[in-house]
Amino acid sequence: MFLQVLYEGLTMGTIYALLAMGIALVWGVMNILSFSQGEFMMVAMYITFFINLATGWDPLAAMPIVIVTMFLFGILIYRTIIARALKGPVLSQRLVTFALGMVLTNGMILLAGGQTKSVPDKLISGTISLGSVAISKEKMVLVVTSIVVTGLLFWFMNRTKMGKAIRATSQDKEAAGLVGINTQTAYMIAFGISAAIAGAGGCAMTYSYYFMPNIGTNFMIFGFIAVCLGGFGSIGGAFIGGMIMGIIDLFTGTYLSVSYKYMAVSVIFLLIVTFKPKGLFGR
C-alpha cells in the first residue's frame, strides 16, 4: 500500500512539477504570476483530444504538434496581452493571467461543452506488477514525458545561447540589454516555452485522465503552492516543490481523507507564504 501510494504521489508530482516550472520560469523572467498555467494545460488536453478525434492519432504521436501549437499560442498571448500588461500598473500585471484563465475555461465550455472527455484506445496501456505495486503504463507515459521535458528545459536554459540570454535577462534586465540581448524577445520566448511545457504535460495527461474545461483550476493551485515551496523563480526548486506536492496530495488523500487533503494543502500554503516566503530552501 505504502509503495503504491508513493508511486501515485510521484506521478502526480511530475504534473505539479511541470506546472510549477512553467510558473517559475515566467515569474523569474518577467514578474508575472502565471495563473493561467493550469488552463494552458487544459487547452493542450483539448488540442490533443481534437487531433485524436479528427485523425485518430495517439496522444504520443500528436505530442510534437501540441507542443509547437502551445508554444505559438504562448507567443501570441505574450504579444497581444502580456506585453501590454507589463507596461501597465502592477495590479494589471497581477490580474491579467487570472482573467485570461477564466476566458480560456469559459471559451472551452462554449467550444467543447462542459462534460468530461477522454481520449480512447491508447497505444500503451495495462499495468506492470512489481511485487505489491501495480504500475500503470498510462501513468508511466506521463512520468517519462515529465522527466524528458524537465531534462530538456534544464539543457535549454543552461546550455543554449537563448536559454542563457533568458537567464541573464531574469537576473539583470538592464545589463542584459547592454550586452546586446533583446530582452523583449527573451520575455516572449520564455512565455512561449512555459506554454509549451504545459502543452507537453497536458498532452501526456490525456493518457490517464478524464478532463473538462475547469480542470486547470485545481492543478493551478497545487502548482502555485509547489512554486512557493521551491522558492519563487527557481526552476529547480519548482520541480522539487512539485514532487513534494504530489506526495502530500496522495498521502493525505489516501490515509486521511479528501477534505483533510485540501485543508492540509491550504495550511501548508499559508505557512510557507507567511513564515518561509523564500521557499523551503531559500535563505
Binding site: K161, R167, A168, E174, A175, G177, L178, V179, G180, I181
Partner: protein
C-alpha cells in the same frame, strides 16, 4: 566620435537632465564629473538607449543614436559598465564574460578576447567557475569591465568604477582603465565623483551640475582651477 548636444532626459516624463552637451574624440579619455545626483548616470544611460531621450541629439560617428534600443549599441561599437556593476549574480565569472560576447559572431575572436581579459585580470581566470554574486566589490568591477570589453568596443563608458571599492583597489582599477585606453586603443568615457584621481589621467573633462554641463576643459586646466574644485567638485 561621440557628440551629445542639449540632451534632455529623465524618468517617467520628469526631466532629470536639462541640456547636457559633451564631445568625445577617438582615442581620448573623457571624464564626466559632478556630485551625487547631478545627472551623470542619466546622461550616459540615455546615450546607451537605456532611457529614451526627450530632446537634444546624440551622434556617434555621424549617425544619430536617438531611438536606437540599448541591445543594438554593442553592434555599433559602444559598451557600458553600468553604475553598481550589474553582473549576472547567479552565473559564473566565465558565463558573465561570455554573455558580454553575446552579439559577437566570430567564435575565434571571442577566445582571443577572453585570453586578453584574463591577461589583464589574472584573478578572473583563477576564479572563472565562481558565481559572480559571491565576489568582492573590486573583483566584481573587474568582471564588469571584462564583460563590457568582450564585444570589442571602440568606445567604453564606465559609470563610477571606483564606487564601493576598497581605496587600495581603486588605484589598480584606474591603472587598468589607462591600459585599456593605451594598449587596446579603446576610447573611454569615465563618470566619476572621485575628481582628483580622474582628472589626473583624463584628456578632457566636463562637469555636470543640476542636470547641466557647467564647465569643461582639459584635465590639467580643471585641476588647477581652485574655483571649479570648490564649487562643483567639493574638493579642498
Amino acid at each position: 566620435m561621440l557628440v551629445v548636444k542639449d540632451l534632455v532626459s529623465g524618468y517617467s516624463k520628469m526631466p532629470a537632465i536639462h541640456g547636457v552637451s559633451f564631445k568625445v574624440e577617438k582615442g581620448q579619455v573623457v571624464a564626466i564629473l559632478g556630485s551625487n545626483g547631478a545627472g551623470k548616470t542619466t546622461t550616459l544611460k540615455t546615450v546607451m538607449g537605456v532611457l529614451p531621450a526627450m530632446s537634444g541629439s546624440i551622434t556617434y560617428k555621424g549617425e544619430s543614436l536617438i531611438g536606437v534600443p540599448s541591445h543594438k549599441m554593442v553592434q555599433k561599437g559602444l559598451s557600458m559598465v553600468p553604475e553598481g556593476r550589474h553582473l549576472f549574480p547567479k552565473m559564473s565569472i566565465y558565463d558573465n564574460l561570455m554573455m558580454g560576447a553575446y552579439s559577437v559572431k566570430d567564435k575565434g575572436s571571442i577566445e582571443k578576447k577572453l585570453e586578453t581579459i584574463y591577461e589583464i585580470f589574472p584573478i578572473l581566470a583563477e576564479r572563472k567557475a565562481q558565481l559572480a554574486g559571491t565576489m568582492s566589490g573590486g573583483e566584481q568591477q573587474m568582471v564588469a569591465i571584462g564583460r563590457a570589453l568582450m564585444c570589442n568596443p571602440e568606445l567604453l563608458i564606465l559609470d563610477e568604477p571606483s564606487l564601493g571599492i576598497m581605496p587600495k583597489l581603486v588605484d589598480e582599477i584606474f591603472e587598468f582603465i589607462k591600459k585599456i585606453n593605451k594598449e587596446m586603443g579603446v576610447t573611454i568615457v569615465i563618470i566619476e565623483q572621485n575628481a582628483e584621481k580622474t582628472l589626473a589621467f583624463a584628456d578632457y573633462a566636463y562637469v555636470i551640475s543640476e542636470g547641466q554641463t557647467v564647465i569643461e576643459g582639459t584635465g590639467e586646466a580643471l585641476m588647477k582651477d581652485d574655483q571649479v574644485q570648490k564649487v562643483y567638485l567639493g574638493m579642498d
